[in-house]
Symmetry: C2
Amino acid sequence: MKDFTLDNLTDVAVEAYTKNAVSPRHAEIFSALIKHLHAFAKEVELTEAEWIEGIQFLTETGKKCDDKRQEFILLSDTLGLSMVVDAINHPKGGKGTESTVLGPFYVDGAPEVESGSNIIKRDIGGEKVLVTGTVSDAEGKPLKGATLDVWQTANNQLYDVQDPDAPEWNLRAKIKAKDNGEFSFVSEKPTSYPVPTDGPVGKLLSAAGRHAYRPAHLHFMVAAPGYETLTTHIFVDGDQYLDSDAVFATKADLVAKFEPSTDKNLATEYDLPVPFSKVHYDFGLMPA
Amino acid sequence: MKDFTLDNLTDVAVEAYTKNAVSPRHAEIFSALIKHLHAFAKEVELTEAEWIEGIQFLTETGKKCDDKRQEFILLSDTLGLSMVVDAINHPKGGKGTESTVLGPFYVDGAPEVESGSNIIKRDIGGEKVLVTGTVSDAEGKPLKGATLDVWQTANNQLYDVQDPDAPEWNLRAKIKAKDNGEFSFVSEKPTSYPVPTDGPVGKLLSAAGRHAYRPAHLHFMVAAPGYETLTTHIFVDGDQYLDSDAVFATKADLVAKFEPSTDKNLATEYDLPVPFSKVHYDFGLMPA
């Protein structure tokens, strides 16, 4: 009979997962997964105590997930895996706006609102910001029927889904751009904030001696009929964490200046106190 | 500012997890983990849809774990990782009995019973087996104060913790060996059985076109003061799954003959029907 040993286990397992796999792609992924998993354990000579600690870590990570918290996405983000996947699927140097991580706090189904709306559902004193911009194709031709799913933390560093006191859909909306591609909305100026550290990922960051902060940003998922949906951020220029983002998601082209404005006409149009903050960003989408 | 790209993400992440890690060992493990994780994604050019499927798979695996079910251990077992870790930590060719996987069904705290006990708490018609053997050091010198934590499936292919109708600690016990190292107990002859397929691991096995069966075996955790605790199985010779164990845990030296016996004296001593099945195994432990 077959004796399974350190010398043959990887080959035996790869064969078992590839010879009858339901598709060549499954076989390819299983094979690479098993090779890297075994090689990792061999390379560090993983002890049994470390193995069981790993099992417990993964178990706790799963337990921490619910309909409002995705600890495995956070783990993928903080290990840089999410950005590797993003970079593989959206290579740099193409036309169109660069993408970045989705993050663990996206919620599908935000209410659709008209361009120009105020998405602050609860005012806790954050600096008001007027966000303006356009949605066009990669050559700058405005796109009709574009929508911008937007989400962000409040001034207390929490997303609505993390904050039991926040009203539903606070600082979240699906903005309908105008037919000429222009959009605008009023929100709070985002602040830098720590990713959640009360779960397994928090313990991991501590063990690595890493801070948990992300530079301030607005999340966008920009869609238009016939175009590839763009998942990205706008980062606040000057943030102290731009170079050490806990999830490695910053890109120079996604950093925008949030500048103070005393424009009284705009203040009246958008019902803003003076001075307010203003940022502009033009998104370019690629054909689907 | 730093732009994170496919070319530098792995180096940047490794640096972030190693430069301030709480110990050199943490840094070593984090570094190898990140390198293999990123290399895996790059090698297969993981799509975003596959990435989110992976996230969901891991999340479901965590959700499936409770105090009686450990789906991540099952995942590690079925991917061959557990046996790699076993082989790293208990190299073949040493003296003493070979080890194999713990498996996901071990429960700490089984009741201690005297050698010679019957551990069948519910008789559902399985073939009775008399298990005898000795616990000695690697040179064959009997060890005093040895215990054998034993667990196994019943004749219905289920461990007690999988079977709502099974009495607590059915086919589980901590056998106290005699001072001369000898032990015996009465149980059911184990049958081959499928690992649980109602969770994520079942889906994985299906996608790989793998059967879920393990060859019939008794689990043992053999301990004696001053010696390394041995986690192992005794497999039933002749089982059809010895060469294709779903968790790659078989070793030739751990296969034992379960032979029919009509020994009337033993049948009387252990209150057994005739014929019964009989198996003998001598365990050798290494110094701690």
